[in-house]
Symmetry: D2
Subunit: 365 residues, 4 copies
């Protein structure tokens, strides 16, 4: 009811506040027998780490994952996998001045009216710090998905007014991680970095768009009515802080197309390198999903992020009595969260796919 859990079979519950003792998660429903590498989880988690560039906050979150349960001798046991990331480098005194402020485009007012109380330290539970747990959990989900051969790749395609020009076909993880904005087009990446530097100087921020592509998806994932695969992906993406939109396959541009252009003509039934049967189609405007269920073609989608709300310059706002106040710039904040959100998008994708991968085991006798 309170919405801190996602998934039906592979269920992640997260907990913890930005400036409490720790943040953490519990995965219930991970099958027994999955080989787990804590190193791989930590490596993946490090991708989200702030302080990696001039464009992100210098806060040194060490974000070390501790697995508490559910893994024995490097294999899952079928018991719940609990894990913690202790909070370090906390400076609750940095937030004392925000106690009664309603910051522009933050969750302060809405939390206050919902709960009648609020942990104001660094946004408390509303902080994007919670997404570190999603990343760790997504890394565990990837371990489950591995034998099926699925490959999830996300990258930054837009920051502010700079867009990627490169086409989908030749994008690799090394291209993406070759620069600090996680953009596989090196020209665009350079422009993005320039733009972010400018914004930083002016104390401003911006948003962007992340693309994600999934290869080798087994056909048959997704449930046909409310839990269509695209519906669960959309929910997972819109549950990420700052996300404002989601589109898959032809997306918004599909609205202007004719059926005769948009229809993906089937060419044959084949088996992919991971041994999965798939429907080969001439085009893939369907984005690999038909009737809510995968057909084995690549899934691809885009996720829009709004600009960071915390600015490094003064802003007018009100306090919880409705009085006008000036919010002084303070603290350590990102100019743009989009590069750091790349592993978050991948992790949420992995969580959704893992859940549906397991659910699909139940579709027939």
């Amino acid at each position: 009811m309170a919405g801190n859990t996602i998934g039906n079979v592979f269920r992640l519950t997260t907990f913890g506040e930005s400036h409490g003792a720790a943040i953490g998660g519990v995965i219930d429903g991970c099958p027994a027998g999955v080989v787990i590498s804590t190193e791989l989880i930590q490596d993946f988690l490090n991708r989200r780490k702030p302080g990696q560039s001039v464009t992100t906050s210098p806060r040194q979150e060490s974000d070390l994952i501790e697995i508490i349960s559910g893994v024995f001798e490097d294999k899952t046991t079928g018991a719940p996998i609990a894990f913690l990331i202790k909070n370090k480098d906390q400076r609750p005194e940095d937030y004392e001045h925000l106690k009664n402020a309603f910051r522009p485009s933050h969750a302060d007012f809405s939390w206050d009216i919902k709960y009648g109380t609020r942990d104001y330290r660094g946004g408390g539970r509303s902080s994007a710090r919670e997404t570190a747990i999603r990343v760790a959990a997504g890394a565990i989900a990837m371990h489950v998905l591995k034998p099926a051969g699925m490959e999830i790749t996300a990258w930054v395609s837009v920051i502010g007014n700079v867009s990627i020009s490169k086409s989908l076909t030749d994008i690799s993880q090394s291209d993406i991680y070759s620069n600090e904005v996680r953009c596989p087009d090196s020209n665009a990446a350079m422009q993005m970095i320039e733009y972010l530097k400018e914004l930083k100087e002016s104390g401003d921020t911006t948003g962007g768009i992340i693309n994600c592509n999934i290869k080798n998806v087994p056909a048959g994932l997704g449930e046909p009515v409310f839990d269509k695969l695209q519906a669960d992906l959309a929910k997972a993406m819109l549950s990420i802080n700052a996300v404002k939109g989601f589109e898959y396959g032809s997306g918004f541009s599909g609205a202007a197309m004719k059926g005769s252009e948009h229809n993906d003509i089937p060419e044959g039934i084949y088996t992919n390198e991971a041994g999965n049967t798939f429907l080969k189609t001439k085009t893939n405007y369907s984005g690999g999903i038909q009737g809510g269920i995968t057909n084995g073609q690549d899934i691809y989608f885009r996720v829009a992020f709004k600009p960071v709300s915390t600015l490094m310059k003064d802003q007018q706002t009100i306090d919880n009595t409705g009085q006008q106040i000036t919010l002084k710039s303070r603290g350590r904040h990102d100019v743009c969260v989009v590069p750091r959100a790349v592993p978050i998008v991948e992790a949420m994708t992995a969580l959704v796919l893992c859940d549906h991968y397991l659910r699909a085991k139940l579709s027939r006798v």
Copy 2:
């Protein structure tokens, strides 16, 4: 697990196939004491009815709702509300030729591989006919929401390459229903109708975009982490057949904005006409939701629909053995589903809001 249920407190389960005896739904979790008007539900359901214009299918679905349980002397009792719409005007023989075909951009292949079997008559369970039940259920949800004063209004803003030019501020239900394309801008509506006629003649189809606006939303709806209000709205929208994208507030265009432009500066705390406290902000790029929770400003979002996949002209495709076949045009089909989807978008919105409206009762002691 099988995904035929949506909602946590106010839960709708749908069932039924396009050419079975009936389609139906069960709402569990509707509070006792809600005054129900079957007439209002039927009126709302009629808005989705096909055969209302040259642009939609002439199939005469009568779509009469029968409430089976949960309502006694015109009030809900707290027991599950089950309702049926009997299928009439069935012509299963129209579909015999599709038994083994994998139609382009349909769910035929993906269902076959998931279930190993398929009710091929009119798409069976994958047919958009299932959405009639969502509309009826949404109408019941609206009865629950009524005392809170919420007003949900959806309309067609784009069909194919024709877009609305009218601004948000002056849109009424009567404007929307003054034409068969459910577009409140009469100039755009005329062009849309022209475009649809052209497509019809050529046997082609198109997609479009629906906008939705919600007024008088109580602040405090939505859960802060995975069940953010926008996340549940996105899921609900992407669960509608043919939907390819969702954006709310500033949406995809927000990605290009600066934080200093995008931030909604709070001006004060006020009480709206329905007696709800809200945060008044200078702009509303947040789309009425901050940190996943409503702040009392209007919610607004857009939903993209792809073109109808069934064309009124022959298409190449394959059958379930992988052989090339020609799919002959046959049957009765819509050129564009978007106008008929307006009440579906409203209904899904009502279901999500109703669920969160009830969940919000649990947020504090």
Copy 3:
């Protein structure tokens, strides 16, 4: 939330009131490809039918099941299976006098205070008539369980002060159904019938105990913590109207035993006739479940039912204003529901086992 659904993977939602248009159910999560015989379901449903003897109510419920969806060409499709039993032989006027009465040991007061309203006709939703849907759903679950070889057998072991003396080992369905009290011990059965006749003459009622035994249970069903198999069986049984107690294996008498007596000494690991590996133990005080998970030995349990609350003689009670009233005997009622509850116990058992049978597919990679 409102509790009209049971099961996690194989989910049954029931709806309908005793004197509404129909009662019904929706099963979501039944795998595709299960061969369904409507005749077998109807046969099983007939076992619950009232009016089969002098000891039960003469109301002629025909209880004909109509399957609405989810079955195509006699096989499940993976879509939700909805089914209805229309209510016939309704006499709502029989209940007008109960509109404001709080009958002794009925749900009248508790419903009134919970919902502020109540469908008083024949108990409305609180009527045991709802259990007909459980029986039909249980029959569907049995179709799913069939390939695993599981055999569920329930019988009446106690009615009032008459108890069975026969031991477990030689009980067959034909013995059980050879008499109207569903008791495989023919001597005890005769005494039970005599006792029920006496009670009938005096306008009184009584309770009893049902035993249930399950053979050929695959090892590995049940989840180890909250959803232990015995926990879900207990819940399922206590959810049946009039049930007051549940015990499995050694049950209440196990409390007095010593560990050295109670421990089931393992003798070896074998394969049963259905091809399932099981742990053979010298004794089976564990009732086939250890740590919440089946070990392949027989499961057995007992369920206690209280006497029917509706008497065929006048009773003192109060109305909804707190005034003393005399409740006149009227209508058509059972002297003892226990014989009719035998298929209900079997059905609820099948629902729980089917859910866990499917869940067990998820326990390892």
Copy 4:
């Protein structure tokens, strides 16, 4: 699916193994604004502590609770409440000899066949150590229930062949905690202690029965069909390790009664000291629940526990290859867990009541 969560609105998920780093829990759905005393939780947790007497294991579990999240300035915030109890005094080497053994009446075989792997150290996840988390969570639930005035009292009524003779009416917490067997009848308590000493000498164990009574229950708690209050209580009790039976109200003895004896005649509608309306009845064989919903009378029930399976003497058994082995007595174990289970029964009761107390807020508009 994997069953480590209980509750619908007030949801507890537990995690952790007996000899891992820690055990813990997450409560999601606790309303904001509940005043929390960590001291009270710790006090309640201490009641379950072993090593309190000669009859229980001398292992010194310190069981210190650490609240990680969801509580800010001593009040719940509406965010998930995570808490940990670190494992100390671990001696995994004590369990090396059990690695391949299937201990009599333990979960070894059933876990192995379910998961294909097992954390054998001290029973891993199947250890009763998990119940410490239930006790802590139950203590939090009690904080939520407090304003409603509910009082939950459990005590030992039977150990082995010794039964309490005292009647219900005059039982206080101080009577219960005046002796180490948690039995309010001091004569019975002395005999129980004597019996346990005897068993200890002979290396044997025994079971027992716990009674529980709940006063000042608001009327209207419980859902009428599958989630009847007694059904959820039964499930909660049967989910406790070693529990074999549950009965409430008249229980198993109600089966032998006549309806005219068993019916609870209503006498009037009153308001209790906590301000709740209730139905006063002459007798209370219904155990405070009618039609699955509380009527405001006391709830009472009994829970049967089997003897402890781990004996302090050698036992014959088999290993995982099916070979006969002798299990040597070793380690530190309880003669009887029933006294320590008293707070577990109270905690599980509190969890169920808290969930239904919150769910009841949704029953009407």
